[in-house]
Amino acid sequence: DAGVTQSPTHLIKTRGQQVTLRCSPKSGHDTVSWYQQALGQGPQFIFQYYEEEERQRGNFPDRFSGHQFPNYSSELNVNALLLGDSALYLCASSLLNPYGYTFGSGTRLTVV
């Protein structure tokens, strides 16, 4: 079992561009959560998807959106990128409740 797989591992984008990050959950997991981790900070919750719907959202603007597919994989989209969006984006999968997240290695996004 490969666990949680995220792609790409690194990405450089220009301000104003749009980006899509991808996540495949651990086998058997049906829930995907996304976190943003800025340098020197702990991960911050962006949103969680279950049954292809956004179940809960953190304190992030609408520029951040997501999607979950029938195979439970997920995408995180960020529009109109700002320099402040530069961070490590972590995907975590789990069963219905949040206990026992399995994290991916993350996608390092740099906005220039």
């Binding site: 666990g3 949680v4 829930t31 959560s33 976190y35 020197g40 900070q41 702990g42 991960p43 911050q44 919750f45 969680q48 279950y50 179940r55 809960q56 953190g58 972590l90 409740n97 949040p98 206990y99 026992g100 997240y101 399995t102 994290f103 991916g104 290695s105 993350g106």
Partner: protein, 109 residues
């Protein structure tokens, strides 16, 4: 507002010495608390959760509701314990974790 505080950014101890990583939380309800660990070049992984009352790799953590703390302890530190440790809070009725800013533990030979 719910919050997790890890007051130490860096904690250095000698091998064989006791370790205590501090975690305080702010939440008026019944919390679910976790410790996550990130070893060098590895992904974030669950170390332990208070509800299980388990000991993993010699680490234990006791929830103290009076002091709103969930400190991580180990009686004898090993060099392989060197890592970044994050305390996380899950609140009832939500599905998210609130993480602290982390403490880097360095165990010196």
């Amino acid at each position: 507002a719910q919050r997790v505080t890890q007051p130490e950014k860096l904690l250095s101890v000698f091998k064989g010495a006791p370790v205590e990583l501090k975690c305080n939380y702010s939440y008026s309800g019944s919390p679910e608390l976790f410790w996550y660990v990130q070893y060098s070049r590895q992904r974030l992984q669950l170390l332990l959760r208070h509800i299980s009352r388990e000991s993993i790799k010699g680490f234990t953590a006791d929830l103290n509701k009076g002091e709103t703390s969930f400190h991580l302890k180990k009686p004898f530190a090993q060099e392989e314990d060197s890592a970044m440790y994050y305390c996380a809070l899950a609140t009832s009725g939500t599905y998210k974790y609130i993480f602290g800013t982390g403490t880097r533990l360095k165990v010196l030979a």
